[in-house]
């Protein structure tokens, strides 16, 4: 009996092109159930609406798309399933959709769908997906005239967030534009080949950079980077600290919004993000040099 069970859990099944073991299927089913229960435990905090339920469903789709992305990058079935599993119980995803009802998974899903299509060479679908995600995300933002950040521990936690708000709202966008334009200029002039790896590194870097410099960023502004950091870590396991630290920062921002306080100063989280930004930036430079 023991031997039969041992054989069963590793036995390979094949349905058309999809090959999987019993253990794979078991994890997929159980973690989906666990993810659902995790969300159910907190879903009543802000009331249940149809939008919220769709948001929870979008979490599952996002996890599926990201795990497909990981498969595309690594070719590893284990990492693919682990990505799906981890994303199903990812604290910021669950808290965003079920606890806070922010429904950021709508735009996050489209952004990662776009990235997945781009990675597979489906240029236009990729661009449309990304654009749809960006529009959905931007539509939810509101520019504050009183404070430079709305809960995301970014640059303004360090330099001060209550002075020159209306002026810095404009100036920071211009500076961000300048930084992005400089990046594009360097990539174009150096005739850099955007490999799959470089695309992922750039994606993670921008996902951290944009909310770091943009004004009026809410607590959930790091969700895209949270998810991207996990894909990044699956591709380069030595970078395990990137999703770990980003997730801690991100969830602390949620906690600050929910509890009205954090155990550690928000400025410390802003410094951690700066370190991650420098680290991923250095990774990009190394990748460009390598090619």
């Amino acid at each position: 009996m023991d031997e039969w069970l041992r054989n069963l859990i590793v036995k390979k099944w094949k349905i058309k092109n999809l090959e999987f073991s019993f253990l794979d299927a078991l994890l997929a089913v159980c973690i989906t159930g666990t993810g659902a229960m995790l969300r159910l435990a907190v879903i009543e905090y802000t009331g249940i609406t149809s939008q919220k339920l769709i948001g929870v469903m979008m979490d599952v789709f996002t996890a599926a798309v990201c795990s497909a992305l990981v498969y595309d990058y690594t070719g590893s079935r284990n990492r693919t399933l682990l990505s799906y599993g981890v994303l199903m119980i990812y604290p910021t995803m669950a808290a965003n959709s079920a606890l806070m009802g922010e429904n950021s998974s709508y735009y996050v899903f489209f952004i990662f769908l776009g990235l997945y299509c781009l990675e597979r060479g489906e240029k236009w679908r990729g661009i449309i997906g990304m654009a749809a995600g960006a529009v959905l995300g931007a539509a939810r933002l509101e520019l504050s005239r009183e404070v430079l950040n709305l809960g995301w521990p970014n640059l303004y936690e360090i330099i001060g967030k209550k002075m020159f708000v209306e002026l810095y709202n404009q100036v920071s966008f211009l500076c961000l534009l300048g930084v992005l334009f400089t990046m594009v200029y360097i990539l174009v002039k150096r005739k850099t080949v955007i490999t799959k790896d470089l695309a992922l590194q750039l994606f993670v870097f921008l996902a951290i950079l944009i909310p770091y410099l943009a004004p009026s960023m809410p607590a959930w502004a790091g969700l895209t980077a949270d998810v991207a950091a996990l894909v990044y870590c699956m591709r380069w396991p030595k970078k395990f600290y990137v999703p770990m630290l980003h997730l801690i920062v991100s969830y602390s921002a949620y906690a600050n919004g929910l509890n009205g306080e954090t155990k550690l100063p928000m400025a410390l989280y802003a410094v951690i993000l700066l370190v991650l930004l420098l680290d991923t930036g250095a990774g990009i430079c190394r990748e460009i040099e390598k090619n």
């Binding site: 330099i159 100036v171 534009l177 300048g178 400089t182 200029y185 002039k189 400025a267 410094v271």
Partner: protein, 399 residues
Amino acid sequence: MKKLLDKYQWDRADILYLLVMTVIGLAVRGILRVVTTVDWEMYWDPWISDLKEMGFSYLATDRYDYAPSFVYILWVISRLPVNPMTGYKAIHMTLDFVAAAVMGRIVFETTGDKIKSFCTYGLMLIIPTIWADSALWAQCDIIFMLFVMLCFYYLFQERPNRAMFFYGLAFAFKLQSLFIFPFLVILWVNKKVKIQHFLWIPGLYFLSIIPAWAAGRPLMDLINIYMAQGAQDVWSLSIKWANIYQIIGNEYFLLEYAEAGTWLILGILMCILFAMAQKRYRITNGFIVQMALFFAILTPYFLPHMHERYGCLADILAVIYAMMNGKRFFVPVIQILMSFTCYMAYLSHLGWAEPSIFYGVWALAELGLLVIAGLDMWRYMADPANQIPPEKGGSKEHG
């Protein structure tokens, strides 16, 4: 147009980049130009009003404690048919663009890389401490920084006389130009600069005070104007600058430490110069920037009564340093962030309150940058390939 592009080996992407960054730089400054700060209200505005009223005879009074060269600019502004603040900021904002162009040129001289050179121009225009200094705060540090940059440019061109002329001009505008003075001594030891070139420093200063002297202000007053300036703002050992006093305490032994701190930094500089002058090195452009950055961080780190803006020279040197050595890309990021935090502490009227990351923590970060710059310099000097026997003298090489 095509001929022009071919002549300079530029292409459309270069032009587009330069244009867009110039527009962004202009837009940033255009947005911030409306801000009125305490410094403007307390100093420049009344000074310009007095200059309007009294004309050049204002220079005979002791109502100003800045170098007369700067007051001449205010006098010009007082004659212009424009709003004084607009005129003042327009001049300094224009100099931002000139300084950005010079910086770009310096990076080209140092690295030979056109892309890095253009990026330096672009980034210089969006560096927060640069736009905040001129467009927001209405400060005038860009003038002396521009002259210091021109000094570097001509040093790289191996024209030491002209380089020292611009350094002399920088000194005629701001005492802070002396932060990096020790690197010139090392250049002199290595036969890059002659002793007579140093005469530009007192010479130009003296020339710059002659009109004020002629207007009626006593000569000794004018010669000692920097000393008098240094004697003000002594209510704290560090005036919102993240240096050693933010670690050991900036509110105690105000008189004692003010004097002792000055002697301490003099002693430190003497020891460093002694050690550096023992051997002769290949003086590359890169080594010049390394040295200047090291001293630009070191001197205000130990000098008492340092203001929020006194890292601005290190800010731009750190950018050149990172452009020369990609692995040091984090140096300008940390340096500028720290510097800008100190700016914002003043502009947010924090007073005695600490910013969200305490000055002491920033002071430790600055110490880290100082150690990194120092170690890079030491490694360069310790490398036998960079040493040359004293009798042969130095020979400048690009790199």
